[in-house]
Symmetry: C3
């Protein structure tokens, strides 16, 4: 069977450690020649936010509040366990640096270099008031239909 | 290949936003003619609870405590991030209303109209002391065997 | 088709209830003759820790801190919802005892008796400073490559 296998990951979580797991699996699958897609939905969208504070017009008060409360980029995301107001995340980052493990920001760069498909969920963007100019470049946009189309042929499908 | 594809979702989480994701994917897959099943286990069972407080006989004290502490229906579930004692959930609901997004209660109705199989995990029902009369009508009941039977033929299998 | 079906579960979570779900599904799939593998990564590794406090040489201060903060074995893990500083977990355990439901420690023994493949993620072990002598016996060790190799042939793939 010479067909390319597909790995499709839904990244729903906004936790640093879960984003790390998602991107490690994705990069691993790409190294094994899978055709890989990560669908970023809900809090997972935060991993795709640009580092800089963007000034975007026409945001409602609620949208501005979401924008301010949610982290801009993986670098600012907390961890799912033992976060202790950011202390646990600092421990994780220290230990990652010591072991030369790639931070999530770099895993995302690597994913783009490996042609992994990064998709931002347009429905959640609408809900949370996130605009395309607030997200990193060279990603795609889609909804649940895009996911089903990929997912139904997936060798590995995960919800993280 | 004319075979119907299957999507099987285990809804373990009792968070409003995760239940929303589960039901959006499920309804999307049904729209693409998948045969869809959602297995509600642990806290995910709360999405199937009736709105009304039911008086059920023969509950132990522990079962009554669980019954009181767990939300009755999706409408009362909190969100997984930024809940802030219910404030985040209110923000999400306000923004959903503004965008005419369907609340989870309506997504569940839609799922039943689309003949999506809603299964309640009998083992968890036993553990938490939930009775059939406390759950919504027209659902099925099963255990891990029912899940494996469906899941092993699934094109898309997710644990949410 | 006489081929053996595969079930592959990534256990990322360190929550007692999620570990319980993972091991119930795994044991169920093994009962249906699936070839089953559980990859323990991040906080999921805690389920494989030995009960006893192990004295291990050459740990850095950070590694010792992680070692002390993380639970040794499933028995000490908290639950994902309504934990209330351990009270919810006690309620769950009481109710499990009443219903003769197997605690996770026993589900792990059962998994080993059913020849379920338990794999510890070596990358996370490095990061968190966990050593082989701190984990239970008769398990395997591997990284993301081991997972992709199993996962791409999985009938059921889940991330828990």
């Amino acid at each position: 069977m010479s067909e390319t296998k597909k790995t499709n990951i839904i990244l729903f979580s906004g936790d640093y450690d879960k984003a790390m797991a998602a991107y490690i699996i994705a990069n691993g699958a790409a190294a094994y020649d899978h055709d890989v897609t990560i669908f970023h939905t809900f809090w997972g969208l935060n991993a795709l936010r640009k580092d800089d504070k963007m000034l975007v017009d026409n945001k409602s008060t609620l949208e501005k509040m979401f924008g301010r409360m949610m982290p801009r980029g993986a670098k600012r995301m907390g961890i799912s366990k033992m976060n202790f107001g950011g202390f646990g995340q600092k421990m994780i980052k220290d230990v990652m640096k010591k072991h030369n493990a790639m931070p999530v920001e770099d895993l995302i760069d690597m994913a783009q270099e490996q042609d992994i498909n990064l998709i931002a969920c347009t429905m959640t963007m609408d809900l949370l008031g996130l605009r395309k100019e607030e997200l990193i470049d060279d990603i795609e946009y889609g909804g649940v239909a895009a996911y089903i189309g990929e997912g139904e042929d997936g060798a590995i499908n995960l919800f993280i």
